[in-house]
């Protein structure tokens, strides 16, 4: 075996190895990998092998062949001419590629029948059917795990992987509400959740800065029973008439403010919100199951 062939084989094996490792670490190849993935990798493999071996073939011709063929009649300054025809392999592949083109055109992606949107609809339908059946009934642990996975992709970009709001750039989801936000809402009112709480909340129910501070601390730290000043301010602002004595909220009137629950998370996702930190858009493209799962996960964060 000559050196070039050996080198070609080494390159091919190395490339295949690298591709396999890369693809393996991306988690796409095993049972989960669909035929499209496999085709892509196969394409890459074919690419290396074909080039390596065709090139090797010609390199070997350069190395070992003696120039041959029928010499042309003319001869210029001692340089001869070979009357060579088209290389046979080239001509065969030429015909092959025309056949392939016909197939792709008429059967693979038929010009008159194929539609990428149709294909998309099929993909979505197959996906939904599969997972609807699988997750028709879920226990809490599964729901929580699913919620976490949705959170990482959809929410973590702003709230952070730890859901801590990344230094106040988004809400810290380990607490229901921050002092700063309570103050902002008391001063400015709020009308974020138009669908579930159409009435909104009027501004300036408390005007004394000391009382605003007190109520902010009281609400944000979780309605501590021994915080008399906070409790008094809470009552003075008539917060309790809508949000309840301990911030448990009242359906259609005012949201729960003493902790997260699935319903509240769904409300935020439905309408988005705007407050002291900034604005959060509505996330309406999430499915009902995903919303529910997120609700379970976010609620579990503040309970810890």
């Amino acid at each position: 075996m000559n050196k070039t062939v050996l080198a070609a084989i080494v390159v091919v094996i190395a490339m295949l190895g690298f591709t396999y490792v890369a693809v393996g670490s991306a988690g796409g190849m095993g049972g989960e990998g669909d035929w499209v993935n496999k085709l892509a990798v196969l394409g890459a493999v074919v690419l290396v092998i074909v080039t390596a071996f065709v090139v090797t073939k010609y390199v070997r011709q350069m190395q070992s062949d003696t120039a041959g063929g029928q010499l042309a009649d003319e001869n210029w300054d001692g340089i001869g001419e070979y009357k060579n025809e088209l290389p046979f392999g080239w001509a065969v592949i030429f015909l092959g590629s025309i056949v392939w083109a016909m197939w792709y055109f008429l059967a693979g992606y038929p010009v008159n029948a194929y539609s990428q949107i149709g294909e998309y609809n099929d993909e979505v339908k197959a996906h939904d059917t599969k997972f609807e059946a699988q997750f028709a009934k879920m226990d809490d642990a599964t729901l929580n795990a699913m919620g976490e996975s949705v959170f990482i992709v959809q929410c973590a970009p702003c709230h952070g992987l730890q859901a801590d709001g990344m230094d106040g750039k988004a809400a810290n989801l380990h607490e229901r509400i921050a002092e700063k936000s309570v103050k902002h809402i008391v001063m400015n009112g709020a009308n974020n959740f138009k669908t579930d709480y159409a009435g909104g909340m009027p501004p300036m129910l408390l005007q004394d800065p000391a009382q605003v501070d007190a109520v902010a601390k009281y609400v944000a730290s979780g309605f501590k029973a021994d915080d008399a000043a906070g409790k008094a301010a809470y009552a003075a602002g008539t917060c309790n008439t809508c949000h309840g004595e301990n911030g448990e909220g009242m359906p259609s009137v005012a949201p729960k403010i003493n902790g997260w629950e699935a319903g509240m998370v769904a409300t935020v996702l439905k309408d988005g919100k705007k407050g002291a930190i900034g604005a959060m858009p509505a996330f309406t493209n999430l499915t009902a199951v995903q919303t529910k799962a997120l609700g379970a996960y976010v609620s579990s964060l503040s309970k810890k």
Partner: protein, 493 residues
């Protein structure tokens, strides 16, 4: 024998050889900076945060692509034209005062153009269309420079002695016509300053086409700019320089002719493969895929023809670094003309599009094929133009291996990065939700980005060796006689 001038006149060729080397280094240097910026974002503020606007990735990126395409490659095309054109038509530029003056004007305008492009891109004056970023005043200048080149081509052909046009000339003509047509149509734009009656920036313009139509025209251009900038003229070069340097006649001239017409007809359809799964009609996408794959044949026709030309000539490949450059260029040409079509198949494209695999593909084509061929052409031209021996053969060999290693590191890392990223984008977890957030798919690429930056840096080092070798050839190579210049180029140790 009628009276003929004593020799060919390479004045203009020399000028463009200079810009090829200089702009090659500039373009690749910017590319290397970009590669390090992706691997280590702190590099974005390398010149301090005050200058960050001019050194950050997004502002430099068009500068890199345009410097390599319109600076390095187009200079290379012009330089080789002013050399090859005269020789295969057997007519000297010294025979026409008009063509000589026009050639010099061509160079001066080209330099002005390059300067204005660099300035405007750094200032962020761009139309955003890839490889067509220039605003309308520069577009007009581009057209002028291009038309002058066309006048050169047809002017020289008009006074030729050789009746039949050598295959390289065919390719140069096709380059001229192809780029002219594509560039004009893609850059149709309306200057807003004049229509609005003198409001705002005078150089600003708005595209004639909108949305999907604009995308269609842009990628018809974008892909074929690759065809007529990175393929057709480079094939013109290899059809001249490989037979010439090796002293072997082209293996099959018939195959060259067929490959030429095949390439002309098929290439223009393939642009649609940049728009697979976009909003252009399905049939057009299918057409783009099909023709991309059929394109393998004319491309490989030329490449195989070149490899077969060296049939039985292994001792030349082994001993001459110059021929090594060209053989490796052919090989990378085959590799990337097979890789491209595979990426154009719809199911593969669904995975590969928007990823680094595409970047890898472009670079194995440009670094492995285009740049290797242009450097080989310049190496071949140098002894004949300067009448001096190539300064150092061992330096050439070193350059060859450093750059080959650079290209291999580049495309393998990008290949793996691309497939990894494509897979992660589409991965769903056991609950049927997306498995990775976008940033996960970015951080995972860090090692590959680093390897790529190393590969790019190696290539740039090779470019510096190239520049040094050319400089020393010009200034201190051994003087050679005409008789030494028949085929293989004379090289110093």
């Amino acid at each position: 024998m009628e009276n003929r001038p004593l020799e060919y006149d390479y004045t203009v060729a020399k000028m463009f050889m200079l810009t090829t080397v200089v702009l090659g280094i500039v373009g690749m240097l910017v590319g290397v900076i970009l590669a390090w910026e992706l691997a280590f974002p702190a590099v974005n503020t390398i010149a301090g945060s005050g200058l960050a606007e001019y050194t950050n990735f997004s502002r430099l990126r068009p500068l890199h692509t345009d410097a390599v395409i319109f600076g390095f490659t187009v200079s290379g095309i012009f330089a080789t034209w002013y050399y090859v054109g005269q020789r295969v038509l057997k007519v000297s530029m010294a025979e026409s005062k008009f063509l000589m003056a026009l050639g010099k004007l061509h160079f001066v305008l080209y330099i002005l153009l390059v300067a204005s492009v660099v300035g405007s891109l750094l200032l962020g004056i761009t139309t955003s269309k890839e490889y067509a970023e220039f605003e309308w005043p520069i577009d007009i200048a581009v057209v002028v420079v291009w038309v002058i080149w066309g006048m050169q081509i047809f002017g020289l052909i008009g006074i030729r002695r050789e009746k039949s046009l050598y295959i390289s000339i065919w390719y140069y003509i096709a380059t001229f016509l192809g780029v002219a047509m594509l560039y004009l149509f893609n850059n149709m734009e309306v200057p807003t300053y004049f229509v609005s009656g003198g409001i705002g920036a005078w150089y600003h313009s708005v595209s004639m086409y909108s949305g999907t139509n604009d995308a269609l025209v842009q990628w018809w251009y974008g892909h074929n700019a690759v065809a007529f900038g990175f393929t057709v003229p480079i094939v013109a070069m290899i059809y001249y320089f490989l037979p010439k340097e090796s002293g072997q006649a082209v293996y099959s001239y018939k195959l060259s002719l067929l490959a030429f017409w095949g390439l002309m007809f098929v290439y223009l359809w393939a642009g649609g493969h940049h728009l697979l799964f976009s909003t252009v009609p399905d049939w057009m996408q299918t057409m783009g895929s099909v023709f991309s794959v059929v394109l393998i044949l004319p491309s490989w026709g030329s490449a195989i023809n070149m490899l077969l030309t060296m049939k039985g000539e292994w001792q030349q490949v082994a001993s001459s670094p110059l021929i090594k450059f060209m053989i490796l260029a052919s090989t990378f040409y085959m590799f990337s003309t097979l890789e491209g079509p595979i990426q154009a198949i719809k199911s593969v494209n669904a995975l590969a599009h928007f990823t680094d695999w595409i970047v890898g593909h472009v670079h194995d084509g440009v670094l492995g094929w285009v740049a290797f061929m242009i450097m080989a052409a310049l190496f071949h031209m140098a002894p004949r133009v300067f009448k001096r021996e190539i300064y150092s053969k061992s330096l050439m060999n070193t350059q060859f291996w450093i750059q080959t290693l650079g290209v291999v590191l580049y495309f393998t890392s990008m290949w793996i990065a691309g497939i990894t990223q494509g897979m992660m984008w589409r991965a769903h977890d056991e609950f049927g939700n997306l498995a990775y957030s976008f940033i996960d798919t970015v951080t995972v690429l860090h090692p590959y980005y680093t390897i790529r930056a190393v590969g790019g840096t190696l290539y740039l080092v090779g470019m510096f060796l190239f520049a040094y070798n050319m400089y020393k050839t010009m200034t201190s190579g051994r003087r050679v006689e005409e008789s030494e210049l028949q085929s293989a180029s004379p090289m110093g140790a």
